[in-house]
Subunit: 233 residues, 4 copies
Amino acid sequence: MTAFERLREEVCEANRSLVGHGLVTLTWGNVSGISPDRDRIVIKPSGVEYEALTPDLMVVVDLDGRVVEGRLRPSTDTATHVALYRAFREIGGVTHTHSPYATMFAQARQEIPCLGTTHADHFAGPVPVARPLTAAEVEADYEGWSGRVIIERFAALDPAATPGVLLAGHAPFSWGPSPSASLRNAIALEAIARMAHGTLALGAPVPLEPFILAKHHERKHGDRAYYGQSRTR
Amino acid sequence: MTAFERLREEVCEANRSLVGHGLVTLTWGNVSGISPDRDRIVIKPSGVEYEALTPDLMVVVDLDGRVVEGRLRPSTDTATHVALYRAFREIGGVTHTHSPYATMFAQARQEIPCLGTTHADHFAGPVPVARPLTAAEVEADYEGWSGRVIIERFAALDPAATPGVLLAGHAPFSWGPSPSASLRNAIALEAIARMAHGTLALGAPVPLEPFILAKHHERKHGDRAYYGQSRTR
Amino acid sequence: MTAFERLREEVCEANRSLVGHGLVTLTWGNVSGISPDRDRIVIKPSGVEYEALTPDLMVVVDLDGRVVEGRLRPSTDTATHVALYRAFREIGGVTHTHSPYATMFAQARQEIPCLGTTHADHFAGPVPVARPLTAAEVEADYEGWSGRVIIERFAALDPAATPGVLLAGHAPFSWGPSPSASLRNAIALEAIARMAHGTLALGAPVPLEPFILAKHHERKHGDRAYYGQSRTR
Amino acid sequence: MTAFERLREEVCEANRSLVGHGLVTLTWGNVSGISPDRDRIVIKPSGVEYEALTPDLMVVVDLDGRVVEGRLRPSTDTATHVALYRAFREIGGVTHTHSPYATMFAQARQEIPCLGTTHADHFAGPVPVARPLTAAEVEADYEGWSGRVIIERFAALDPAATPGVLLAGHAPFSWGPSPSASLRNAIALEAIARMAHGTLALGAPVPLEPFILAKHHERKHGDRAYYGQSRTR
């Protein structure tokens, strides 16, 4: 199997597993991956149910978002995925869902504060919210601008340390070194959103101390990480 | 298989799938469909458990709600379904459930505000609440009046753009071009109710900007829709 | 199979199904049934996991709560079940769980208000709370007094129209004409507690109009009921 | 099979069952057990998915936390487990999870008040919160100090009567006479946290009367316990 065939399989499998992880309702979510030479993106076809997906139904687009392989239309969110791959050169996969709790924060247009070590294990600070689009941006190129406002929001942020974002009035996007890593970040994002939501309901939230935040992030992701087994990341 | 036999199967299957979608407890929900010539309605029998349903157990009624086929009593909500088919000539299926979050808004007698694009993808504005019935209406014809207050509420609304409603102190009804489309709208309605509920808990909700609401609804349902694959709707 | 063997099977099956209905954690729940001549009660053994239950493991006690058949100890809540069977002569089954939402209201020592027709279909008014026990009552006969305060609370209530109660600081009990009917009332009680909890979070709850409450209860349980299929109750 | 092989199996099985009990997301949880002579601790390997676990993949460490058997790295939380075994000589198993509701209280840095008998059946009082670590403690030995602040918090508490704790800004730890008993306490802790969270949302919580708290704890755990079947504990 070629590296590209494996990518198709990984993207297909990540999309199919969205359902079991409780991240999607109907067809509200999609995962993509980029080829090692970064000239081809594999993405879910639009509006197709997850259980019907097979690797050969995945759609292949180039870095202008044009379909280069596949009989079906790609996800309507393709232009947003493409924008992220162009701006964040270190990422290999992108996941977009309307998972309930992350979407509640996106709809409330509130960042998710870092209230605990679960959060710190995955995001090195609050999960940020991108600014709302203007009417002109929506009119001109809705999905493209959805990507551009994320990139704008990350002007002073490291996408490797903060592997996700909330689109105001919309829902989350997450990413990672591979399609399955972007999916794991989507799972973590939903779990920390849910726990932050319930913590806020208890009143008077205390932000996690910066030195514990740093400790947890580094023991898992730093140069001297000791979480998990030895491996290339 | 005739078109009518396929309708029986689709109605049966939609009813059976209510359980897996988490929309019903005990036997609190029912789906119906109308024949292409709009003279026969196929609906769930009353009080029968979902897993026991088969296509031939479905009850067939005419547009006066009289049973014309089937050994069992139709759903107690049949008169409400009939009223909707008579008033909304473009719909092909109706779903009624007591799904938890939509029912919370129905019990609170509050419309579900449009707070995000998930909502806009399915409803072109808030999910409306029909007015409560009077004592005289309940006494005279409870289920019929439940339909009439919905129709009254839609005097200035398009049932294709707003494919569902909340009955005050009761629960939601949704509809669509087919029984399975009405079921998908019931699934979407519950998901957006849940996310609105959790967004309101975060305080100070921001209604979705009208130009994004319109954009999302049109990219999915408009004349130049580009969500999903090419198909007749 | 004798009527008593069928009762053992029904009680065993109702206990086993508590898990699938999401009503129990660990072994926090039990269902019982009484023989037609009302001299023998079949109940779950204490502390045994649900999946290990078989009809012959059920414990049989008399109306003084003494074990008359079975190798295992009966549920610690047996004395409460017995008290209910002695006081409410029309009931055939009792279910006790610590289902989450009903228990939240029990812990808050708040009755569950009737906010919608789902509630009215099962309870002809609010779900009442029994008064807390005194230290002397706990010391003298904890489980017996748990039954007596329920009976005290029902001095002016009809247990057929209000088939359940909340014990202050504890959890719900429900009952019905049979063990499986008491289980269905436990399922309904948990669902209406959950929806009431979420409705109260939306603020300013509106009690269901008495004429709709009466209508819904009567169309399902009255002399001229038309919900479900013809049958003896 | 030797006692030590059975311990490996029990620890493996307890770790694997975390998923089905809804206590873990991704790999956020671990169970350990100690040998009868208290010189060897069996614990989950770090970052390995639960479904891939087998008894021989479990890691064995000594009471200084050094690996004495196994090819994989032990859980990053091993030093905390070790500290608990050294301080609490009566415990045989420890479970650590980031279960949602217990973690919400941990993040809010609020103890879980005893609001009902479900709580009293498992914890003889509020579930306590250990104090936050200082920057110096995090720097010096993060996981070791996580154990020491628990022990500090239990200076005047009996770990047998209060078999769990919340780490401020982190998550819960629970323990028991065996690995599976520590898991049951983790399940109970999550359930009582969820019910306390929902009870607090209803306002004006009433702490359980001390005489009922004592009664429930004693009927299950006291010298004259009558919950469950006769057995050695």
